[in-house]
Symmetry: D2
Subunit: 261 residues, 4 copies
């Protein structure tokens, strides 16, 4: 059964900026979805900011295995309620791939618990991504490095938690470095942040970038049913303890009472 | 110079529940602060929920090296603005130690990015904490294990991110296990979660628990000045690049413009 | 294409101890291989200590995707040269699953760089394995816990490096806990240690154990060609630098010379 | 009480190569020890390859809190027995700081369990070390980056296990990046690898490098007594179990017997 990917695009600069429209005439989300569709085991749809519920209705998220997120100009326009809905789906097991300027998206900051800040410079400089974890599934089929001739610079310190694994580190012409591919788990969901993708450059038409995205979708895919238990904090009654115990000592809670939150 | 610790207590059950008042007549925060004061290199003060700004005014937090957090009954009463203030101080380098039912505090969930849920049972059962990382500074001076004869059970799965390091794992009489001491960094701040401390038992009078808390304060202490740069995302102008580069390609931003957030 | 698994068994107690022979009449390796064969995408063969080169000839290892290792009574009989050969294959990308008493095998200690010691007790006590990382592929399809009614106890501290991820933690009747499922990468190869499997109990006939082993084989499988570059330390000549640089300063090495080792 | 640091130097190139002797007339180990002595809480001595037992007699190691290791030309001359002795001391809690070409030392490879290979180029190019973990104690007092105008290039992939934490990442003029400061724990001992230090350049006279080394000694210092229990695998007799259990099921071992190794 195919992996159901959903590519979320902010879809603003593609409509308001001629340069961006020239590179991504159908929107960045369509180009990204097209890259994913090159592998037959991935079915990719798209959703955008301006749609009702940003295209992320409950039923649609429930039918999504991996969500890919690109946003930049208007992170603030994403409704907090939808952000919480996406976070819950990640905790339940949906994969999440956050791209480039999505480092400042509400959903990424929500899941990281850090500012997710960085340095930046928009000068069309050369970026070289080094594979530092060659056995990681997200690096499968790549050479030891690949280059993007024109990219925006992002520089360290990148205010993220220590990654589970670092897959790519970038070198920039102007003298900076950046952890460009990092993995996390949050609840039952896997999260991958991938740096490249400034909208004035043709990054998502690049073959290596496409391969990374397809690898990442496959890596982040969790075939298990939604793990909704992670959202509860169940009391285990004494008479249902796995090993026989005798209740003793003073108590706050009456039997069967819910805990405080 | 001494480490400035601040023990934050919810201070509700100590005033409303006779059992708790009997064990902690001055409040749990005062008992915890007393345990910290056993080492001369720690100066410990206290703050409570009912105080103005919950006792966490900007200037006070700025003068705090390590914040210890105990709350249970009314996490929701902590103002969101104060939670964000505490999070920023952690990112700047303030240490944070979250105790027991604080797993559901707003600040812990904020920094973890996960539900922080778990199983629980209030039956006064035996907890045995095993040191699984004997070289970690937080385990210094402990034997390979210690026991708390009466404790509330917390059981896995504990919905937290994979810890930087796991220091303690607990065994419970009724058949559960729990990662009872786990470390994180968030921005420039170090975070330690420590499981024991149900309010109807005398946990914070225990010598081993006191030793863990003092070790944790010392481990979480970051003597560097507040690292406020982590809250910014500075543009690096092309003419100030560390290596000479020539600007090229199309641009979104005019020179010197702030980035999108 | 199927994953080529190779189950290595010490095959001593199965031939010399009647209890073990009774449970595993064809050898533990055959029972384990049988559990793997329940999934059509895994092809499982076996190898044993007494075979020439312990059944681990160069060509056979080169044709192995994931090696499963069970040994106990005579770790010392495994030739050092074969251990190095296996280590190199792991670095090149072969998966390795180490079972139970294999914590003291030469290959596991070689790859961990630690003593891999632990506490133990052979009393047929109950072990309960809790899934602490429910979204991890190795836990797919399991309930939140499973039990083995008769098992040998292994207790913390387990002298291993901090795992990449901890998947299972065990509770034992006698009061101990243990990190029973832990993951690592070493070079391009993935390593999983799984605790259960004392030879006097029918552990490898258990359905949950079989599911874990199949999940682990799939997780550890790296379809990429052998990453032999990781065994080299290539000099990058100045005139082949990716960015133009001018050689300067004093040198130890003449151009093209190999480095010291 | 001061931290007892021991700086181990190979001391070959300082005697055979005029350039190196010119920069380090008393040997690199003496320059490094001098940098450590700038802080009053560190007492630094030195040991070299050509001394009996390489200057690492049992009693001397037992009286060492943190060992610093620089070697390059003749890693093979270090006796295997001494390597094992050092490894045991690390597992017992001694800190270890491995410098530059020590990535290929027997002791580092022994503790990592990986090839520890990398790319290299000796061209006196500029290295810029970025602090990616600004709250880490090893980065205390540093700016966000520092430069070494002349250094040997080391490039990724660096075949090490995923670090506990990455503190520094280097940018090189010729287009490579490198994880230049990485931490591990092995047993009760803390390990730090720090990249800079090619012998034909004055790296160990650099102020920032000195600060990193002093910070690292302090971070790696474990004041606890030697944790020799980690080298054992004690049987826990049934009648000494922490919780009452009844022995049952078939057994391999007679009561009190040692386990297999």
């Amino acid at each position: 059964m195919a992996i159901r990917a959903l590519v979320w695009g902010e879809n603003i600069h593609e409509r308001t900026n001629e340069v961006v429209r020239g590179i991504y005439p159908d929107g960045m989300h369509e180009t990204i979805a097209g890259a994913l569709r090159q592998d037959a085991d991935i079915v990719a749809e798209t959703a955008t900011l301006e749609q009702p519920e940003h295209g992320l209705a409950v039923a649609r998220l429930a039918a999504t295995d991996v969500l890919i997120w690109w946003g930049h100009k208007d992170h603030g326009a994403v409704q907090d309620e939808i952000v919480e809905r996406v976070a819950r789906r990640v905790w339940e097991g949906m994969g999440l791939i956050v791209l480039h300027s999505g480092h400042f998206s509400k959903i990424f900051k929500r899941l990281m618990g850090t500012p997710c800040s960085l340095k930046w410079r928009e000068a069309g400089e050369r970026e070289r991504l080094w594979v530092v974890n060659p056995g990681h599934p997200i690096a499968a089929g790549l050479a030891e490095k690949f280059e993007l001739e024109y990219e925006e610079m992002y520089g360290e310190p990148f205010a993220i938690p220590e990654p589970l694994e670092t897959v790519f580190i970038s070198w920039f012409q102007g003298g900076e470095v950046f952890r460009s591919g990092v993995t996390y788990r949050r609840g039952a969901g896997s999260v991958f942040y991938f740096r490249p993708g400034h909208e004035t450059y043709p990054t998502y038409h690049d073959d290596n970038v496409g391969k990374v995205l397809r690898n990442a979708v496959r890596w982040a895919y969790n075939p298990a049913p939604a793990f909704s238990a992670l959202l509860q904090a169940p009391n285990v009654p004494v008479d249902q303890a796995l090993e026989p115990i005798v209740e003793r000592g003073p108590k706050l809670h009456a039997a069967g009472e819910a805990g405080f939150r």
